[in-house]
Symmetry: C2
Subunit: 435 residues, 2 copies
């Protein structure tokens, strides 16, 4: 399995071979096996463990176990304690949703403050199948069937092609210890039903069902990628910048069929989920609007107008900035340093001498390109956004630090090669963002 795992990450996630990552480690067999595999493949990683304090002594045992695992693998260890029940009741969430929120907030904080490039989770093929079936039973679309994506913004799931059995067999063969997971009983009921009652029937229908499902998942993921290329392209074509948002000509929309499906895909990144409502809007009177939790969509004679709530018009404008006067927006901080200290995505080191034109911050524009640090040649910013799996909203929120018409920094994400520190650098500027 080690070889298959190595081959898979070399092919699909080469970036995790080059940048430090965090593994979300519960102590269960999946995340423990993932940790061992990463160690064998020479990855630079740390373990992060959440103690939800939901199962008394058992929870503390899990924490001790994962701490010892990190020691024995010789890697850094992060842990945190949550009062999950208090948080859940304060925010009116299920225990599961509360744990999820707490977990992902902490992971995201760890990534940005500790200089790790992404989080690895131990989801495997049976998880994907169970998600597929649960979503199917509830009614779903392509996205629900592709289930658990192999990669989303800063989360990578390298065990996804492997089955639960393969992971278990590997752990036993290699004498790897793990903790049995007793949490999450409600989901477990559904998942057990699928595992013990549904999968056996599917296997009777076709003996290599699981292997075939891996193929299905790959096909669906590819289709989903094509569709999102299509919709992203359409959005660039028909979303016309307007005030602080966009407007879309109803006349142009009319050509799309099935219209409801197009509307759903086009507006999904803005939090709209009810396609019937939006389709209704196209036939409504001017002034009628539909709201998502973050945006409103207004029917205005010949157009749909998309606006973010409480958007601050000034913020999206290009702004000149001065490093000397310290007049820095967006929580940017600058200081001169003697050498490169810690490195992570929230910090940019630049050669001061290279900043020989007006500095500005602005949003992305069509046609923008830059020279990603460490890469040969230039890259379109739109392509970079796509590779980073950024959705339309994330793209719209992304700030760029520019020097004249050159991009210096996709703030918080990637530096430009032209401004990097070299052996000839005389003065090093360290720019930090809190975004």
């Amino acid at each position: 399995m080690t070889d298959a795992f190595r081959e898979h990450i070399v092919k699909s996630f080469p970036q995790i071979l080059e940048n430090p990552v965090i593994i979300a480690c519960s102590g269960g067999v999946d995340s423990v096996v993932l940790s061992h595999l990463c160690e064998r493949c020479g990855l630079d990683f740390a373990l992060a463990h959440c103690n939800y304090h939901l199962r008394g002594e058992d929870s503390d045992e899990d924490q001790r176990f994962t701490s010892n695992l990190a020691d024995s693998l010789g890697v850094r260890y992060f842990t945190i304690s949550f009062d999950t029940e208090a948080y859940a009741s304060a925010h009116k969430l299920s225990i599961q949703m509360a744990a999820r929120e707490l977990r992902y907030r902490w992971f995201s904080e760890l990534l940005s403050t500790q200089g790790y490039s992404c989080l690895l989770t131990a989801h495997h093929l049976d998880d994907a199948l169970e998600t597929f079936v649960i979503n199917l039973s509830r009614g779903t679309g392509l996205e629900g069937l592709t289930g658990i994506p192999a990669e989303t913004d800063k989360v990578v799931r390298p065990l996804l092609p492997f089955t639960r059995d393969e992971i278990l067999v590997f752990a036993k063969e290699q004498g790897i210890q793990w903790r049995e997971d007793h949490s999450n009983e409600e989901t477990k009921y559904l998942r057990n039903k699928i595992r013990h009652e549904l999968v056996p029937v599917l296997r009777e229908l076709h003996p290599t069902f699981q292997r075939n499902f891996r193929k299905t998942l790959r096909f669906l993921t590819h289709t989903s990628a094509m569709l999102s290329n299509y919709i992203d392209g359409l959005r660039e074509e028909i979303f016309e910048p307007y005030q602080d948002g966009y407007r879309i000509s109803l006349n142009e929309l009319e050509d799309f069929e099935p219209l409801e499906a197009y509307l759903y895909e086009l507006f999904k990144p803005y939090g709209f989920t009810s396609w019937g409502d939006i389709a209704g809007l196209t036939n409504s009177l001017s002034g009628k609007e539909v709201r998502s939790s973050t945006h409103r969509l207004i029917k205005d004679r010949e157009h749909l107008i998309l606006q973010e709530f409480q958007s601050k018009p000034a913020e999206s404008e290009e702004r000149e900035i001065s490093l000397d006067t310290g007049d820095l927006p967006l929580g940017l901080k600058v200081e001169q340093v003697m050498e490169i200290e810690e490195k992570n995505n929230t910090i940019l080191y630049v050669d001061k001498e290279t900043l020989n034109d007006t500095l500005t911050v602005r949003k992305w524009q069509k046609g923008d390109y830059f020279y990603p640090l460490g890469m040969d040649g230039k890259k379109k910013v739109s392509k970079f956004f796509k590779d980073e799996k950024m959705d339309a909203v994330a793209k719209q929120k992304q700030w760029l630090l520019c020097c004249g018409d050159q991009i210096v920094w996709i703030i918080g994400r990637r530096a430009d090669d032209r401004f990097k520190i070299t052996a000839d650098t005389k003065e090093i500027l360290k720019i930090t963002t809190n975004e």
Copy 2:
């Protein structure tokens, strides 16, 4: 159920309310209920029944039953006898495949010779679910999951939103008689397994699972339609007419990711199914080729070249024709008649006086439009092709009869309004195709 059925066809298949159709009627409960529903909705239809002679007296009973049904509904009845076993062994096919081939060939013949616009089959929601699961068990993509399309070229399936139970309940409530179907035992084994072992578990996972599946199917079908709009558009963009086929710049293809998935979708209509092979071709030496049963794809330095086997270059050229000398290609026949006789898609009646320019036959070109008979205004031929669910190959094979730069007839499919017979017509020409 009659109301729900009526509402469904008004919304989704208005064309079958206006044109005569054929119902494929086995005598089983599904097709018998479909026949009754069509009668109640006032459709103009005939029944067509195949006797496969696979179950002795039972087969003949089915035939008598459907013939009586047609009588009692007061509609036309077509029937045919097949020596299915002989055909299967002669063509090395399974009995099922043989029956399918024989059936569809006959139906297609009936449609084109008897003046019916399309065939209705009685597939329902459980059929779609069973197809979904069988394909899933074997490994599939989006197309395999959408399962049974509601509409393909000249086949419409108006019972698809209804469950087996709904159909059965309706038949019993209305005192409708039907014949139990004992054929097709192998598929039945799989379908029974799904019905009795899998569906109950899915229903335990979610009580309204079947209703939800209807939603899933609609979402997937919509997604599939969007994808096919996308790929059709791409094909028009990057397939450059070349010799008697197309060529595609490898340089342009490079931008598409995941490339294998794009190649698969782009070349699927030409019979290529193995995307790995085609992807391999993009990296091969010039001269290497991959074949489907109808086409070859050749790597030629900077391009992929797509050619049909035994293509006859002369055939795709525009050719001038003369109705007077009888110099007619493509099996066209022309005669002067006194009045409009039988009507169907293989026959065109034109007002001779309107043909006041050079007559030609040619293939479709981008930008072509015509004035569909009976419709207000003009329509792009590409849009017509899409509405007819024609794939890339069918479009490429389609001939147009033109008068000067006006389209007179999408041969075998639709006439143009500008050349129709009116009260003022003096001479009527009847043009027949055998294509």
